[in-house]
Amino acid sequence: MAKAAANEQVLQGTLDLLILKTLSLTPMHGWGLTHRIEQLSNEALQVGQGSIYPALVRLEQRGWINTEWRTTENSRRAKYYRLTTVGRRALGDELASWHRFVSAVGFVIAAES
């Protein structure tokens, strides 16, 4: 697919943030998560679809999300991920640090020009 080549790869370390943010809207399964991220970024961000699963496990290990097997609207079994309260707090921290990072980068870039 030619489209994939044009898309930005997700920056290392930002995938966790994207997942947390997306899950904060509503619990969803893995496939839905990848599509939601792509949608929300207006198809600009391309998540390597398989790569969210290790990230999900990592987040679950930290206790930021938990999982549950549910049936989808098409009545199929799927594993749903949901943000925990700890995860919600962590999302706040992550967002704050992201904003700090972005503004820092912005300052540097502005100084250059």
């Binding site: 893995g30 839905g32 496990v57 290990q61 930290r62 079994r77 594993k79 700890v86």
Partner: protein, 901 residues
């Protein structure tokens, strides 16, 4: 902080979570994802086949994400291990020669080591299976100037000690006899019997599985108060009575009358030996006290806090008071025979006889394991050397040293684990066959068996040795030097590695030489034993045992008639040339004399007493056994009249009368200690025979006549009061009857009489040399294995060194060096190794062969011939191993060498 703890907890939970469940869920999740994506693609208008492929492509490698999730799950360490093991297996598969060699070497080495180690531990070290075993001691009554060589107690001494000694909570005693047969229902069966003092069971803390034990008053003498009570072993109970629990109280027929079974002893009791079937209550006869004939084994349980040494001192102090209790035993007698007592821990006393062999066995197997391990280390070193470049690259690319160390160790563990598949059956085989030994040769052997602990030990040992070997190989490769090797390739080789390998190979050569020398010495001993003049002709002859029941055969005459009839019938069989009867045959018993005769020359009571082993023999005995008569004749009818006839062996004639020209002379003496003094006429002189063990040399023998029908004399008039109830028959002939034929003939005469232990005389002689033969075989096998391993070691080291110098050799050859000279340089390498190993091995042998002395027969522990032969064999074989690389080096074409790697 809290978060970390939670994460750790989750990790641990994950670890315990069923991995398979997780994998299944993950599989479901992944395939759900791909299916959703496929459906989405189709919705966007793709063809079905393309849609699925595209979905997989976007997912990007399920295997990869499976591994990454596992990493995240924290099963990382475990999974890494599994992955490393998988890699190791893959790597090792690519080197089947190396892996196979290591697995086989370790497997056999560890299997043998654990198997034999278990035997050594079970026999020498493990506690006896009785409560508080450390309190149990064996009490020996040692006398000098006595015909007996063992330390068994005369009944009077046991009685005295049991009544007076304070050091013990209890004393018990027993004696064994193998000459009983059970005639009750079914076929008559030969059984082994122990006469046991009732206190012995209490002392050992044994409980019957059925019925009861003896009580203090029980006696093996029929005294009108009912039938003699007996106990039977569990084995016998199961074998003969099908574990019938109604056996208690039943009266069974034994060759000596009817006995009442009062209890069954558990199999675990197995004292004094597991082969005992019947137990009689022992009555200690003290109405005619004497101290010259001991036949009781005495066991005691020490009081708390009493040492064996203190108990021994107390018993020794009690000896003089024996004459107070038994005036018939005078102080003078006690002093003359220098009676004293030894008190030894029971465990040590039980295994004392085989201690050196068992220790030797242990040492041997340790040596074999050591050689096997060094060889494996050597193989690993060579492999590490080969892998040197690969490792150097890995290091330079950022692999940690720990990771590389892990690689070697895991290889070792994997190989060790694989070798357990050889080691386990090997150990099980060793423990089930016990190398052909039985508890007759090695006491306590019946206590040893293959258990799950052994299996665990084998696997643990195998993996541990594997890990250690891997580690050694790693440290020896000197990792710092690997960077140099990356640059320099193979033209310089690690010096430390070389030294390590050379050391190992020299060590192997030294050990191989030691074992070869030992094998040579034992081989010579065995040869000497086999070619020793045993004094009779074992070929074309067999023997069997007959025990007569007492009922119906109450006199010497009755018994002699039976023996004569049986001999006649056997002699009439086709192919049989002669049949002889005697109380015992040479080399057939443990060497204990049947009759301990005490003889004097002439009538003079001032002549010194000479001890001799007595035997009763029929007229045809000498001819049948092939024992030559040097002078005079064998027995004839009429020999029991007047002064009974005797035949002396040459050795006894010389001991007694100073000459072998003794036919017609008179001697006096007792047939056994306590028998009446009698006169005898010497009618013949027979050749000497080896009686007990060949190693012990000739025994002075005196033969008393065993004549048919008692020579017409009144019942029991034979000089040997002991009735010949149990005798051995010897049958000689070009064609020997089968065991079934013999049993048939015996049964025809009396269906209550069993014929037992039918065997050829050759097998009896084989048994007599079995101990030395077996030790020699074990050492030879170990020696040959060591030699082979040494050859492999020498070859691999020299060949490897030579291959590292190919370029150098090429240059030398190009510059005009003679090929022979280049080959010689390689030979020199090998020669140095062999020389160092040989010198070390010779020195070690000189220092250690004396420990074999107990097993050597007519060969010195430092015999030059055996040392020389072993050395020559070793040097020739190992130098041959260096010839191959030497020839290869001499044939190098300069251009090939210079072209480089």
């Amino acid at each position: 902080m809290l978060q970390r703890a939670r994460a750790a907890l989750a990790r641990i939970r994950e670890l315990f979570r069923r991995r398979s469940r997780f994998a299944a869920e993950q599989h479901e999740e992944f395939s759900f994802h791909v299916q959703m994506e496929t459906a989405e693609n189709i919705r966007r208008g793709m063809r079905e086949s393309d849609a699925h492929r595209a979905a997989l492509l976007r997912f990007g490698g399920t295997q990869r994400y499976r591994e990454e999730t596992n990493d995240a799950r924290g099963v990382v360490a475990l999974d890494n291990l599994a992955r490393d093991a998988r890699f190791a297996v893959r790597r090792l598969r690519r080197a089947p020669g190396f892996s196979g060699g290591v697995i086989a070497t370790l497997g056999i080495g560890i299997g043998a080591a654990v198997g034999i180690g278990t035997i050594v531990y079970g026999v020498l070290l493990r506690d006896l299976p009785y409560p508080k075993p450390e309190q149990l001691v064996r009490i020996g009554f040692v006398t000098e100037n006595n015909a007996t060589t063992d330390d068994l107690n005369p009944p009077a001494a046991y009685f005295h000690f049991a009544k007076s000694a304070q050091s013990f909570t209890e004393l018990g005693s027993y004696s064994t006899s193998d000459d009983f047969s059970v005639t009750d229902g079914g076929d008559p069966e030969h059984v082994t019997v122990a006469m046991v003092a009732p206190s012995l069971f209490n002392l050992l803390g044994v409980h019957p599985i059925l019925g009861q034990l003896f009580e203090t008053g029980d006696s093996s003498w029929t005294n009108g108060s009912g039938r003699i009570p007996i106990l039977i072993s569990e084995n016998f109970w199961r074998r003969r009575f099908g574990a019938d629990s109604s056996i208690i109280g039943r009266v069974i027929g034994i060759s000596r009358g009817e006995r009442r079974v009062i209890g069954v002893l558990p199999r675990s009791y197995a004292f004094p030996s597991p082969s005992i079937d019947l137990f009689y209550p022992l009555t200690v006869p003290v109405n005619r006290p004497q101290i010259s004939l001991g036949y009781l084994t005495v066991i005691g349980r020490l009081r708390d806090g009493v040492s064996p040494a203190r108990a021994q001192a107390e018993l020794n102090a009690l000896i003089p008071s024996l004459s107070d209790r038994f005036p018939a035993i005078t102080r003078d007698m006690l002093q003359r025979i220098r009676a004293h007592v030894s008190v030894e821990p029971l465990k040590a006393a039980t295994v004392a006889a085989v201690h050196p062999q068992v220790v030797l066995l242990g040492v041997l197997v340790a040596v074999v394991l050591l050689i096997a391990t060094t060889n494996v280390v050597n193989l690993f070193l060579l492999r590490a050397e080969r892998a040197g470049q690969e490792i150097a690259i890995a290091l330079s690319l950022g692999a940690t040293r720990v990771a590389i160390a892990q690689r070697f160790v895991i290889e070792g563990v994997v190989l060790g684990f694989c070798s357990a598949f050889i080691a386990l059956p090997a150990a099980a085989y060793a423990l089930s066959t016990k190398f052909g030994f039985s508890e007759r040769e090695i006491p306590r052997l019946h206590e040893v068996s293959f258990t799950w602990e052994t299996a665990v030990l084998v696997v643990a040992c195998a993996m541990l040795i594997g890990a250690v070997v891997g580690m050694i190989a790693l440290t020896r490769t000197e990792m710092a030097g690997l960077f140099d090797r990356l640059r320099a390739s193979r033209s310089t080789s690690g010096r430390t590695l070389r030294h390590a390998q050379n050391g190992l190979v020299s060590f192997q050569i030294a050990v191989a030489l030691m074992l070869l020398v030992a094998a040579g010495l034992l081989g010579r001993s065995f040869w000497n034993l086999r070619s020793a003049k045993i004094g009779f002709t074992p070929e074309n002859a067999l023997s069997f045992q007959v025990s007569l029941p007492w009922s119906g055969y109450t006199t010497y005459g009755d018994q002699a008639i039976f023996h004569a009839k049986l001999a006649d019938r056997l002699a009439a069989l086709p192919g049989v040339t002669s049949v002889g009867v005697a109380l015992r045959l040479p080399l057939a018993s443990s060497g204990a004399p049947v009759l301990e005769a005490q003889l004097r020359s002439g009538d003079g009571s001032d002549a010194p007493v000479v001890a001799a082993s007595g035997n009763m023999a029929s007229a045809d005995y000498f001819r049948t056994m092939g024992i030559p008569l040097r002078a005079g004749r064998s027995f004839v009818s009429g020999d029991l009249h007047g002064a009974p006839a005797v035949v002396l062996s040459e050795r006894l004639a010389t001991n007694l009368l100073g000459t072998t020209d003794v036919v017609g002379r008179r001697i006096t003496g007792r047939v056994y200690a306590g028998a009446p003094l009698m006169s005898f006429t010497i009618v013949g002189v027979a050749g000497d025979v080896q009686w007990g063990r060949i190693e012990d040399g000739y025994t002075p023998m005196v033969y008393f006549p065993l004549l048919r029908d008692g020579d017409g004399l009144p019942a029991d008039s034979n000089p040997v009061r002991r009735r010949p109830t149990e005798v051995l028959f010897a049958v000689r002939g070009a064609q020997l009857p089968s065991a079934a034929t013999i049993q048939g003939v015996v049964k025809e005469l009396d269906h209550l009489v069993p014929a037992a232990n039918v065997r050829t005389l050759t097998s009896i002689v084989d048994d007599a040399t079995a101990r030395v033969r077996l030790t020699m075989l074990l050492i030879s096998i170990a020696g040959i294995a060591a030699l082979l391993l040494a050859v492999v070691g020498v070859y691999s080291v020299v060949a490897y060194a030579a291959s590292g110098r190919v370029r150098e050799f090429g240059i030398r050859l190009a510059l005009g060096a003679a090929p022979a000279r280049v080959g010689g340089m390689v030979l020199g390498d090998g020669f140095r190794l062999v020389a160092i190993g040989t010198v070390a091995g010779l020195m070690a042998s000189l220092a250690t062969t004396r420990f074999l002395r107990a097993l050597l027969y007519e060969v010195k522990p430092t015999s030059i011939a055996e040392f020389g032969l072993a050395t020559i064999l070793l040097v020739v074989v190992t130098l041959c191993a260096t010839l191959i690389p030497a020839r290869r080096a001499a044939r190098i074409h300069p251009s090939v060498a210079l072209r480089g790697e």
